[in-house]
């Protein structure tokens, strides 16, 4: 099985698979909103804790390598972004660092430093919470959640079809990739670039031909413009709503109460 399909396998083997997808989605959205609604650093740790706990329960942290790389990439982007924010302080709080380098001016203040940390922690905890949802909810379940909130049928059908055919095209791409490997297609940088370009073009052409054939197959099976659902996922009941509201309110209150508890500049650099 290819690396690309491992995420799907992971979601289908999750302990949280049977949970109401809409409930999970609303829970994650509520936590993410609260996470950015308060200025407390501690809330980001609470959010991170929730995300990691859910991920541990859902998958025992068996994250496919390619997804792990994607998380690292997102984390690197967050660090870079936070770095940029921290050296662009415009306020009048205590200056930590001020210097010129080439045409750039770096101006780090206590506030910009704290803001950068808050954003980094919010981003990291947000990724953890979203991953707990992604690793426990296959796309088809998500489409059913979308159906439950009465999103347009056309949009949902497109999501389902993209999901289905993306895997097919990934499989074909993998076959082409292996074939190229066995024909010395990655022998040197120049050849590799040519090969990757050829594979991309090939996949694009195949996708159009696949869509034609699939249209015929859909007609053959009496497609009426929607995919009927036989097994509905668990419904989002009152219990879910109570959990979501209680969790969101509790975290928000906690955030308001602890807003000034941690000053990262003081904690790390000893600067007030």
């Amino acid at each position: 099985m290819s690396e690309q399909t491992q995420m799907d396998t992971l979601a289908y083997s999750s302990r949280m698979l049977g949970w109401a997808p809409l409930g999970k989605l609303l829970f994650v959205i509520a936590i993410l909103i609260v996470n950015i609604a308060t200025a407390s650093v501690l809330v980001t740790f609470v959010t991170l804790g929730i995300g990691l706990t859910l991920m541990a329960y859902s998958t025992n942290f068996k994250i496919p390598f390619i997804i792990f790389l994607a998380i690292l990439e997102a984390f690197a982007i967050l660090i870079f972004g936070a770095g940029v924010i921290s050296v662009n302080g415009t306020d009048t709080s205590t200056v930590i660092w001020d210097t010129d380098f080439l045409w750039m001016h770096f101006h780090m203040t206590v506030d910009s430093f704290n803001k950068a940390w808050l954003i980094l922690l919010r981003g990291t905890s947000g990724i953890a919470v979203m991953l707990s949802f992604a690793t426990s909810t296959p796309i088809p379940h998500m489409s059913l959640a979308m159906k439950q909130v009465h999103m347009p049928t056309e949009l949902i059908e497109i999501v389902v079809l993209i999901y289905r055919y993306a895997f097919l095209l990934l499989e074909r791409m993998e076959a082409m990739w292996n074939a190229a490997h066995s024909r010395m297609g990655f022998n040197g940088a120049r050849t590799s670039i040519n090969t990757v370009a050829a594979i991309a073009v090939g996949i694009f052409i195949q996708s159009t031909s696949l869509s034609d054939k699939s249209q015929i197959a859909l007609d053959c099976r009496n497609y009426r413009g929607y995919f009927p659902v036989f097994s509905e996922p668990a419904k989002t009941g009152v219990k879910w709503l109570i959990v979501i509201v209680v969790a969101a309110v509790a975290i928000y209150m906690f955030g308001e109460y602890t807003a000034d508890w941690i000053n990262m500049a003081h904690l790390i650099l000893g600067v007030e």
Binding site: M1, T9, Y163, S214, I216, A217, D219, N222, S231
Partner: protein, 370 residues
């Protein structure tokens, strides 16, 4: 009675095509006959059967279903496609739901059947193709052979009157291919008209009663297989080869100074024809499998024919010698004067008896015990 009649049909995919994909074709497909459409790649086989369910509308000519010209209005096509199911060659083009269950349920749900009925049909269809354990699996996690079975189950769940299969055994291992053919026999015996398109001449020769041969969109032949394969030039013209059994019979009959006719279509029939005069056939005990069927005494090799028979022998722990191609293997035993026991789905019994008795016309009388 002609189920389909194609009258002077011409079809081109686009106006720039120099040669139409189907060129002035006229033919009939009879109800209740095992019909195969034969032809090399690009012969127009798929194009032809997409005319049967109204996917393609002829540029010229007309297609009749049950003696009535096809109505291409939406409601009429919907009704037509509830009757006629096409299983395309590549299962990936056909399976578009995310799980096995949802894909098999697609047809019955689209027919707006009650939920219980849909559930029954899903269970039965998956049972028939041996995919019951995979019901909740995502379709992305299946092997090619499994996907092929699921695509077939999707069609079976609709319970069509006519089942059209495009290269049903392509890409399958030999055992699975035989299982699919057994399933096709089962559907045929249950009253479904089966049309299959293939370029596997051996498969066609052992299975089909009628063949339709196409070459570059032209009709080359329509009728019984023997007449067509007797003409090597005609066979080569369509980019095909003669079936192995047909060729061997032809050569060996000439060498022995025998008549080519009767034409054996299976190995057992061929061996029966070539057996020494006066050779005695064995007994085949047929055990019709229905609810409550019990194991019988083992009087020879044991075979299971049909999916219910296979389930029974598994459930009862019956030791089986022939799990695949069991009828043919029991026939071969009978030709070798050996006795055998064949657990056979009730619906397949008549066909099994006919086939075993057919050995008599090749010189060996095998006795059927019920």
């Amino acid at each position: 009675m002609a189920l389909f009649e194609v009258r002077n049909v011409t079809y081109s995919y686009n106006s720039r095509q120099k040669r139409p994909s189907l060129n002035d074709i006229s033919l009939k497909v009879n109800e209740g006959r095992r019909t195969a459409i034969l032809g090399a790649n690009g012969a127009g086989k798929s194009t032809l059967f997409y005319h049967f369910n109204g996917i393609f509308k002829p540029s010229a000519g007309e297609v009749l279903y049950n003696d009535r010209p096809l109505d291409y209005s939406k409601p009429a096509l919907r009704e037509l496609r509830n009757d006629i199911c096409v299983v395309v060659q590549n299962p990936d083009e056909q399976i578009f739901s995310s799980t096995v269950e949802s894909d098999v349920a697609f047809g019955p749900m689209s027919m707006e059947l009650p939920r219980d009925e849909v559930d029954t049909r899903i269970r039965e269809a998956l049972d028939m193709v041996g995919m019951t354990d995979y019901r909740m699996r995502p379709s992305t996690q299946l092997s090619y052979g499994q996907r092929k079975r699921v695509s077939l189950a999707g069609a079976l769940a609709v319970r069509p009157k006519v089942l059209i299969l495009d290269e049903p055994t392509a890409g399958l291992d030999p055992q699975m291919a035989r299982e699919v053919m057994e399933l096709i026999d089962q559907l045929y015996c249950a009253g479904t008209t089966v049309i299959l398109s293939t370029h596997d001449v051996d498969l066609v020769y052992s299975w089909a009663e009628d063949i339709i041969v196409l070459n570059h969109g032209e009709l080359v032949y329509s009728g019984e297989p023997e007449e067509y394969f007797s003409d090597p030039e005609k066979t080569a013209y369509a980019g095909l080869a003669r079936p192995h059994t047909f060729s061997v019979n032809s050569y060996v009959s000439k060498m022995r100074g025998l008549e080519e006719s009767p034409y054996p279509r299976t190995t057992s029939q061929f061996i029966a024809k070539m057996a020494p005069e006066g050779a005695k056939g064995g007994h085949v005990r047929i055990v019709p499998v229905k609810e409550g069927t019990e194991a019988v005494e083992k009087t020879g090799a044991v075979g299971a024919y049909g999916y219910r028979a296979k389930k029974l022998v598994e459930a009862k722990g019956i030791e089986v010698d022939y799990m695949y191609d069991a009828l043919e293997m029991c026939m071969q035993d009978a030709v070798k004067s050996k006795d055998s026991v064949l657990y056979c789905d009730e619906v397949l019994v008549d066909m099994a008896v006919d086939r075993i008795r057919s050995l008599e016309s090749f010189g060996i009388k095998a006795e059927v015990i019920m």
